[in-house]
């Protein structure tokens, strides 16, 4: 288990709240992990160096559209490149702030974001385990953020 991250329990919650309060302009509240029904979206950002982590942000497609709209003060009634770009940037900011809490001697750097979208998929990476998972409620819709580490 990663000593760096397990030594900082609750690492995700303040970071995710700060990003949503400051940049997305959409207050969120911490809550229990809740399954996401229907069309959903997962944004990934890798943090690699002496250790390898991935930050995953998962939400429904309607929440992704709503968050992008709130962030850019525009209307996104359906999935578009603009929604994908906004979600990528949200994941990038969360991952960057997670990286900032990890020791410099790990020489970590961020990957570019990847976004997966669909209604029936599972995210599985061999030899990766969940280090932290945080559930949130944003405008009544669930959002989950995870940090996973390569074993």
């Amino acid at each position: 288990m990663s000593a760096e991250i397990t030594a900082a329990p609750g690492l995700l919650e303040p970071i995710v709240k700060d990003v949503f309060d400051t940049m997305v302009n959409c207050p969120i509240t911490a809550g229990a992990y809740a399954p996401i029904a229907g069309a959903r979206v997962t944004a990934f950002v890798g943090i690699g160096g002496e250790k390898k982590y991935t930050v995953l942000l998962e939400c429904s497609e309607p929440l992704a559209c709503s968050a992008a709209g709130s962030m850019l003060a525009e209307s996104f009634p359906e999935w578009s490149d603009g929604v994908q770009d906004a979600l990528s940037e949200i994941a990038n900011m969360i991952a960057g702030n997670v990286k900032s809490k990890l020791p410099e001697h790990l020489h970590l750097s961020l990957s570019l974001p990847t976004v997966v979208r669909g209604s029936s998929y599972e995210c599985r990476t061999p030899k990766m385990r969940i280090l932290q998972e945080a559930g949130f409620d944003c405008s009544g819709l669930p959002l989950t953020v995870r940090i996973v580490e390569e074993e």
Partner: protein
């Protein structure tokens, strides 16, 4: 002031651009360091470059090094807008000629303050 925003995220270019326009600045955009250098050479009268760190093709640090290698751009301030907080990386960018950092997430007042700070140093 004419400001070049360099970020691969259109979302960030929009957010930063709106803030700068509200502050009365003229903006141009580039999607990575390579595009930024092309944009800088295509026009004159630049007052500031605001650049992301993590970009495809040419990242922010590589861009600072390439821009500052050009004699004509040595006085041009470059502000990094990034989640990068690793001191060794910040030092590399400052050594290469970056004028400062804005950490993401940021409030628009942070951009206003940083630009005002740069203007005060320049005067």
């Amino acid at each position: 002031m004419k400001i070049l925003i360099v970020d691969d995220s259109k979302t960030m270019r929009l957010i930063i651009g709106r803030t700068l326009k509200e502050l009365g600045h003229e903006i141009r955009e580039a999607g990575n360091g390579r595009e930024a250098i092309t944009a800088l050479k295509a026009e004159t009268g630049w007052g500031l470059v605001m650049a992301d760190w993590n970009m495809p093709e040419m990242n922010g640090l590589e861009m600072v090094i390439a821009v500052k290698a050009e004699e004509v751009f040595k006085p041009l301030p470059i502000m990094m807008v990034t989640t990068e907080t690793e001191m060794s990386n910040i030092q590399k960018a400052m050594d290469a000629g970056a004028a400062g950092f804005i950490m993401k997430p940021f409030k628009k007042e942070a951009i206003q303050e940083k630009i005002a700070g740069l203007a005060a140093v320049a005067s």
